[in-house]
């Protein structure tokens, strides 16, 4: 092989893309040629230099979780668009509302069986958020960061307020999916406990209620168009206090 055949093949050679039967003659030439040998060495130096100097970029964790949340919301939206079957949550909620409105009673007493379905789903979501790596999609105690994050991701716009002054600092926000619908969740901390505040469309009637299950409490109230469901392993009295300070901070 001569210089004029070797030069156009040098890139392919150092890239490991040279045809096998061309490697031996090319190597033989590089060993002998005072110009092509150093040329090949310079190309190798450049490659090593690039790999050494170039920063290694990795997808930030925030992007990763953000993408997962977006995919969940997207999957939920396409599943919802097909309307193949009414989601059981909507079904359960409609029964729950009917029962509550019809009896004027509390969720705990009259809607217990139907309320169980929602309670299970919300408490499951709460548990998943504690066990998995997916507690928050947006980590911030700043309501001006958390609130806009939900815009465009969910039809519901939860009033994110930091309640650190009242003993419930805002940790961040997350998008869960329940029965194929994106459900915003605000995450608060109460000492060593976490509180997930799920935001659903308001249920009609006054459903003030507390449910407990396996040591987890769920508290529900409405405010305007929104229905709030607070889930936590904090004591029910703590959740009552949480509801009080949250409503005081958001109704003003």
């Amino acid at each position: 092989m001569q210089c004029d055949e070797v030069r156009p093949r040098l890139d392919a050679y150092i890239d490991g893309e040279l045809a096998e039967d061309e490697c031996a003659p090319l190597l033989a030439h590089l060993a002998d040629c005072p110009e092509c040998g150093p040329e090949a060495a310079a190309l190798t130096r450049l490659r090593d230099g690039i790999r050494h100097a170039a920063p290694i970029y990795r997808a930030p964790e925030a992007l990763r979780s953000h993408i997962r949340a977006t995919l969940r919301a997207e999957a939920a939206a396409s599943a919802g668009a097909s309307r193949a079957a009414p989601s059981w949550l909507a079904y359960a909620a409609s029964i729950l509302v009917a029962v509550a409105v019809g009896s004027g009673g509390t969720l705990l007493v009259t809607g217990e069986r139907q309320g169980d379905a929602i309670a299970s789903e919300l408490i499951d979501s709460h548990l998943r958020s504690l066990l998995g790596s997916h507690l928050t999609d947006v980590v911030s105690s700043d309501q001006h960061t958390v609130k806009p994050w939900f815009a465009g991701r969910s039809e519901l716009s939860p009033p994110a307020v930091d309640l650190a002054g009242e003993g419930f600092p805002l940790v961040g926000g997350r998008l869960d999916v329940m029965a194929g619908k994106p459900v915003p969740a605000l995450v608060y901390r109460r000492r060593e406990h976490l509180i997930n505040l799920f935001v659903l469309p308001a249920s009609r009637g006054d459903l003030g209620a507390t449910l407990s299950r396996h040591g987890y409490s769920l508290r529900h109230w409405n405010e305007g168009d929104l229905g709030f469901w607070a889930a936590s392993d904090a004591a029910p009295s703590e959740l009552a206090e949480f509801e009080r300070v949250f409503r005081a901070a958001t109704s003003g």
Partner: protein, 184 residues
């Protein structure tokens, strides 16, 4: 049940695509030259990939994703930084005779030479025109083969090879020149 099928689709998508998220981000980061923009582009590209997941056939998931990320990058750049997507002067092998290609290679070298503020290789790579920058990134940093690079960038293998050669020549002249300057 639509939502069960959708959940299955999503989890299959996540297992196919998410392992290549670092590569997707790295390509977007090199093309946009900015962390926040790269994150935006990748987010958009992954969503796009999800919507067109039906077009994915078993095979090279990484190339498939990078192709979408690259296209999303370019349309993002066209919208937001049109000056960054000036078309590359003729590729070697696509023009009759070698003169145009030679001139094109010369102009890239001149471009890098004019950036005397850049001494390090990573800065010089960032200063390359996007079509040359991407082949360097895909080859040297993502370690893709020529076939895969052609697949991702949508150009013939011959063009991949000539772009790699042009990019390396320009980088070498600028880098080696400055190395010597530093040593003196």
């Amino acid at each position: 049940m639509a939502w069960i099928a959708e959940r299955r689709r999503r989890s299959r998508f996540e297992s196919v695509v998410l392992p290549h998220l670092d590569a997707a981000y790295a390509l977007a980061r090199w093309l946009t030259r900015n962390d926040a923009d790269a994150a935006d582009v990748v987010q958009e590209a992954v969503l796009r990939a999800y919507r067109y997941f039906d077009t994915y056939r078993e095979g090279d998931a990484k190339s498939w994703l990078l192709r979408i990320v690259r296209r999303t990058c370019y349309s993002w750049l066209e919208r937001n930084r049109p000056a960054d997507v000036v078309p590359l002067e003729a590729d070697a092998g696509e023009e009759e005779g070698g003169t145009t290609a030679l001139q094109a290679a010369g102009s890239t070298e001149a471009l890098l030479q004019s950036r005397s503020d850049l001494r390090r290789l990573d800065g010089l790579i960032e200063a390359l025109p996007a079509p040359l920058r991407e082949v360097i990134v895909l080859r040297e940093l993502q370690e893709l083969g020529y076939r895969e690079i052609a697949d991702v960038t949508g150009v013939p293998i011959g063009t991949v090879m000539s772009r790699l050669h042009r990019a390396r020549s320009a980088l070498r002249r600028a880098w080696e020149g400055r190395d010597i300057g530093d040593a003196v």
